[in-house]
Point group: C2
């Protein structure tokens, strides 16, 4: 959490979607730009699984954010015009309450005693910050990846509260392939010898499991064609060669990413959010996706997908766009030819910038 992080503390019971309740909770958030007098220019960003509220740099915090090239003055989400808000997801570990937080009743971290988390809870907790800022209606909600699930949960719980909705590299529910990958990531973490049912310490961190989870994540976030062009079969010479690893550049690329990730995200938070993504189904209380849109959204929608996305394949974005169109929403759909797979929204700004910019205009 950087110097631009704000904290909202909610000192009331917060009942959770799948049962249980939190006696109180804290949410970390950041904003960029100025909320106008009518409070009508707010753009709410929902995040993917691992980023915090720091979407972009600012005067208070010059550190680049997770969507640095997308959010800022003159950028596609233009902070000269919009008041942009990003809240760290409930259940995460970047300043908001989650399994890594101290349970006030015991004085110890929640870890596995945290109640089951749903994407619906992430959306409902985010609403507390929006209310706190006195914003009744959002100019736009923007959800990439897990953030798109949160956007769908948002409209489900708060129908017609946003003029615009962007669903980016996301879906109405996880495919069995996505479930299989996330399930295996979780298995690697919970079977790590240091995990010990959540009783890990800083000195005995489930590092092996987190490394495997991150590398499997990278395999599912990028694409075979990107790696073919980028790495081919070039040997690596950065990390010492172990008996069965690190002979190819693609291996040292994964290693670098895994090392960065291991200490920066809490294993239990990862498990809770990962599981919440699998269980989320935006149609679970409706007759289907069309019924959700009919009941909850009548604004201007943008749906973007990428041809090489393995985790949220393009047919899922087509499905979202088709359901919106069938309910007479004003919907714009873009299938982008990015090579970077699911992660393209984080790196391919040449392709993602223009449609987002034009749609917000």
């Amino acid at each position: 959490m950087g110097p631009a992080t704000n904290y909202y503390v909610h000192r009331h019971a917060f009942p959770l979607y799948r049962g249980g309740s939190l006696a109180s909770l804290q949410l970390a958030w950041e904003s960029w730009g100025t909320l106008n007098a009518e409070r009508s220019n707010a753009v709410l960003l929902f995040t993917g699984l691992s980023p915090g509220a720091h979407a972009a740099s600012s005067e208070r915090d010059p550190e680049p954010g997770w969507w640095e090239d997308m959010v800022g003055p003159g950028k596609p989400i233009d902070t000269d015009r919009w008041f942009v808000l990003c809240v760290n997801s409930l259940g995460s570990c970047k300043g908001s309450t989650g399994p890594a937080s101290i349970n006030p009743e015991t004085g110890r971290p929640w870890r596995l005693s945290f109640p089951e988390l749903a994407i619906d809870d992430v959306a409902r907790a985010t609403r507390l910050v929006v209310d706190h800022l006195g914003i009744e209606r959002l100019a736009a909600i923007v959800g990439p990846s897990m953030g798109g699930l949160t956007a769908l949960a948002w409209i489900k719980h708060f129908p017609d509260s946003a003029d615009r909705m962007a669903l980016i590299s996301t879906a109405c529910s996880a495919t069995p392939m996505a479930i299989a990958i996330r399930s295996l990531q979780r298995e690697a973490i919970v079977t790590d010898r240091n995990f010990r049912d959540g009783r890990y310490t800083e000195d005995d961190w489930p590092e092996v499991g987190m490394r495997i989870a991150r590398k499997l994540g990278m395999i599912s976030y990028r694409s075979a064609s990107e790696w073919q062009d980028r790495f081919g079969r070039r040997p690596q010479d950065y990390f010492p060669t172990t008996p069965f690893g690190m002979r190819f550049e693609v291996e040292s690329y994964l290693e670098t990413h895994a090392r960065k990730f291991v200490g920066s995200f809490d294993p239990c938070c990862y498990l809770y959010l990962s599981r919440a993504m699998d269980l989320f189904d935006s149609c679970d209380s409706d007759k289907g996706l069309r019924a959700l849109f009919r009941r909850s959204f009548s604004g201007k929608a943008l749906v973007i997908g990428v041809e090489t996305d393995l985790l949220f394949p393009l047919w899922q974005q087509r499905e979202l766009a088709a359901a919106l169109e069938a309910e007479d929403a004003e919907v714009e759909f873009h299938a982008l030819a990015s090579a970077q797979g699911h992660d393209a929204f984080l790196v391919d700004f040449e392709r993602f910038g223009p449609p987002i910019s034009a749609w917000l205009d």
Copy 2:
């Protein structure tokens, strides 16, 4: 190893492709059909990473084999006509010498003291059995998956020794995505608390690592579209629900496969063969694939690939077929629409049977 397994013991030094040497070695093999007087009807099958020599059932061993629907009387590889031979790969653990075998010098299993294994060694060891049977020239070599790499190594080391060559769901070398997946499988095994640099015992088996490796294998062997149709988001009710696993049918499917695999394959053998696949490059001593074919193969080729294969993507089979065609080989290429990904050759006999049958006729 079943009642139909034969063993060939080679009591001479066998120098290995990447250095080192085995003082002697044993190879397990099976055959079906009858070798004719001219010894001209032999079809040699190379296997994928994990199967043994038991490709099909027989009178001596009625247990179904790994290519049961492909090999037998009246089947696409018709044992009424062909003498079919399958040898367990050197480095494997199904009767042939490998890291799980006893090192005669120490009286203990080789494990990580086994010299580095190359696909070239698998091909060269297989040749010992072919020689032993007095077969000078093969009617056909057939290589699916890793077996296709072995077939390419075979023609490299023994040019013009086969009339026909079938390369099925294979490639001239691994893509960076395939390397990334196998590297992560190996990492899961070597970081298992029980692996202990290869000093695992039957009571302390690196079960967690092998389970993760197998599940990741299944993710790469099958396809998202198959699982979408087969499992969708159906819940599972077979295995007890753990906190972060086993809520969906696709998870219990992976669990079932992992449980079957864990005890049936030696972790070190897996590591050695997996690494050999990454390092194999059929062009490494040539000016390219075309040079290999020009020098080593002038027969009738069959190349088959599957649209949904993630591990050996279709462009790799197109590359093989194009290189063969450019060298004026008689080549037949089939891109099959199987949903089952890389594993399709093991299950989709409706699509794989006819082209193999017609090509052998």
